[in-house]
Each structure stands twice: as C-alpha cells, then as structure tokens.
Symmetry: C2
Subunit: 214 residues, 2 copies
C-alpha cells in the first residue's frame, strides 16, 4: 500500500502528468510549429489543465525546449544499436545508413521539430544542455568504419566522416521533411511503402558509390 505507484486509482501523479503533457505537446509543436502551437490546445488534449503546464514547465518556450530535448535524446540511442565491427567496411556502411534511414522514418515528429527549429535558427537547441552530447554518438561508429575502409585501401582518402554523415542525413531528412511539396509537384509519395526498399538500397549505393568511386 505504501508503493509509490499503487494501481488504477491514481489521480495525483507528478511523473504521469508531466509525461502526458510532453507527449501531447510534442505532437502539437511538431504539427503546428512553435508559433502556431497553442498552449490552450495542448492543455485541452491532456488529461490535466493549462495551469499545470505552467506549474511544471514554466511557459510555452520552456515546454518547447523540453519537447525538443526529449526528441533529440532518442537519437542518441542509435549509436548503441550499431554492431558492425564484424562486417566489411562497405557492408558496415550500408548497415549504418539503413539504420539511420529506419530511425528517421520511424520518427517523423522529430524531423518536423528539426525543421521548425531551423526556421528559428536553432536558437532553442543552442541553449540546450544536451547539445554537447549529440555530436559524438552520431559520428563515432561512422568514423571507425571509414578508418577501416581507408586502411584497407577501399575508400577514397579524402572522405570526411562529417561529410558522409551529412550526406546520409540529407537523403533521409529530405524524404520526410519535403514529402508534401515533392508530392504536390511530382505526384510521388516518397514515403510510399512500395518504394521503401528501393530508397533504402539507393542510399546504400549512394554512400558506397561515392566512397569507392575514382
């Protein structure tokens, strides 16, 4: 009975309320942008009230920051899912690219938040405490693969890990971030499941092709 989380009849639960707000706010901000998002609307969709948003987060901007940080935190786990030391450099690279491809596809809200944050010149991300921890997870595994490929004389010598990361990101991000204008103009849905495999392999060919060409 003294258990902190007993069971069903819970009305007052700090963590649950915070998580509820964050969940709803993520969708609202990703959907409408920072300025377009309405605090009242977020409140209405939670099981709590607007006053609680201010009670727990302080204000609209701090809530947005919390949403942004939570979304970025998820991508840091990508590195840990990468186990490619036993693969040939080319295959390891394809594996890494595919992993990124899958992660982006699985987190459209995150991509939208990144777009929104760029509209705002990344001013919120810049002041975030988690910023420092984002670069290494994204580049660690990639750097090791490139070193192996270079040492084996199979990758071009002037390849920079950050450039390759940018290349992979641009392909994966564009597919989600520019989906709507692309579809409007060319009548092709880049997220059509029927084309998923094609794009996933195209990205691998692209990266390996660039590194092994010449």
């Amino acid at each position: 009975m003294a258990a902190p989380s007993s069971e069903a009849e819970r009305q007052r639960d700090k963590e649950r309320t915070r998580a509820d707000i964050l969940e709803v706010a993520t969708r609202e901000f990703a959907d409408k942008g920072y300025t377009g998002a309405r605090v009242d609307e977020i409140a209405a969709r939670t099981s709590t009230t607007k006053r609680m948003i201010y009670y727990y987060f302080g204000g609209k901007e701090q809530l947005y920051l919390a949403v942004l940080e939570r979304s970025y935190a998820a991508i840091r786990t990508l590195e840990s899912q990468l186990d490619v030391e036993h693969l040939e450099p080319e295959e390891a690279l394809r594996e890494l690219a595919a992993l990124t491809f899958d992660h982006h596809e699985a987190h459209p809200d995150f991509i939208r938040l990144v777009s929104i944050e760029n509209i705002h010149h990344a001013e919120h991300l810049k002041q975030s405490a988690i910023l420092a921890g984002l670069a290494d997870p994204a580049l660690g595994g990639l750097t090791r693969i490139l070193q192996r490929g270079r040492a084996a004389g199979r990758f071009r010598a002037d390849a920079d890990p950050l450039d390759i990361h940018m290349l992979i990101s641009s392909f994966c991000v564009f597919r989600l971030a520019n989906r709507h204008t692309f579809q409007a103009i060319f009548s092709r849905d880049m997220l059509d499941p029927a084309r998923r495999k094609h794009y996933r392999e195209m990205l691998g060919d692209l990266v390996v092709g660039y590194l092994t060409a010449l």
Copy 2:
C-alpha cells in the same frame, strides 16, 4: 506624361506598391513562418500601409500564396539556363547539379518558404495555379541527359530521373534548410565559403558515382 511610369514624383503606382509589399512579405514569411509572420510588421516595413495589403492581396493567406508563387516561379527559369547537349553525360550531369547547387544557395528565402510550406503539408502550394508548371522544368533536361548516358551504356539502367532529381535536391536543400541545427551540433557551417567548392564537387561525384557504379 501619359507614360505609365513617368519618373521620380510618383506616389500612386499600383505595380510598385504591389512589388514593394511582395518583397517585404517574402522576407517576413521566410523569416518567421506563416503563423509567426505579422501583417502589421510587413506593413511597417513597406513604404505603404496595412490597408494596401488588404486592398491588393485580400488577406494574410492570399499574400502568403502570392509570395510562394513568386518564389517558385523563379526556379522555373533554371531549365532555360541549361545548355549541356554538347557535353558528355557525366559532365552534363555535373553541370546540372552545380546549377541547382548555385540556385539554392542564391535563394535561401525560397528554401525557407519550402520548409515552411512542408510544415503546413503543402496545403497552399496544392491549391496554387502554378503547380502544374513546376514538374517539367525540373525534369526535362535531366531526363535527356540520363537517356544519353544510358544509351551510351555509361549509366546504370535502373536510374529514374525523379530519383536523381530528389538526390540532388536533398543535398542542396539540406545544406541550407538544416544549416542551423547542423552547425549547433557539429560546429560546422555548411555555408562557409571556404567549403563551397568542396561541397559543389562532392555533389557531382555523388551523382556520377551513383550512376556509374556497379
């Protein structure tokens, strides 16, 4: 004196007023997004008043649509700048990619408007009258180059013009659209003039590498 555009002492000039409003509105919308943009702010930065915005454009949304259409119209001129029939397919492709690269770099406002429009699910672009005229200019030259390359047995047979266009766009767009978060995380400015040549060539290698690999 009957000349429609006489000279300096012009206070009443339909075209000039419209153009002035469009110019200022483009910057405001590109900078703040649709919801973030303020009609009063746009009016303040023109040499005219808010009343004129409603007089000429009808409202905030129609003004945004006019801004969007004007920006998209500019990209339709790209096709006409392409004269690569005399070049080998590989070089023609590099030329096309470089041209796109340059155009995107020269029109950051356009890229931002596209991002913003995607946040809004391209709902404004979809209802635009110019939509139908956008696909062909983007793909015409590219399709011809790919045909030549394939006919000569130098490009892979399964290459789709729209996929290649997407590849080129993703690289060029990412460099501008995600500049700020990328710089915040990796401390690298993708628009640094010192790296411009490198990226421009990287894109060419990328496209040619993908088409000629295997």
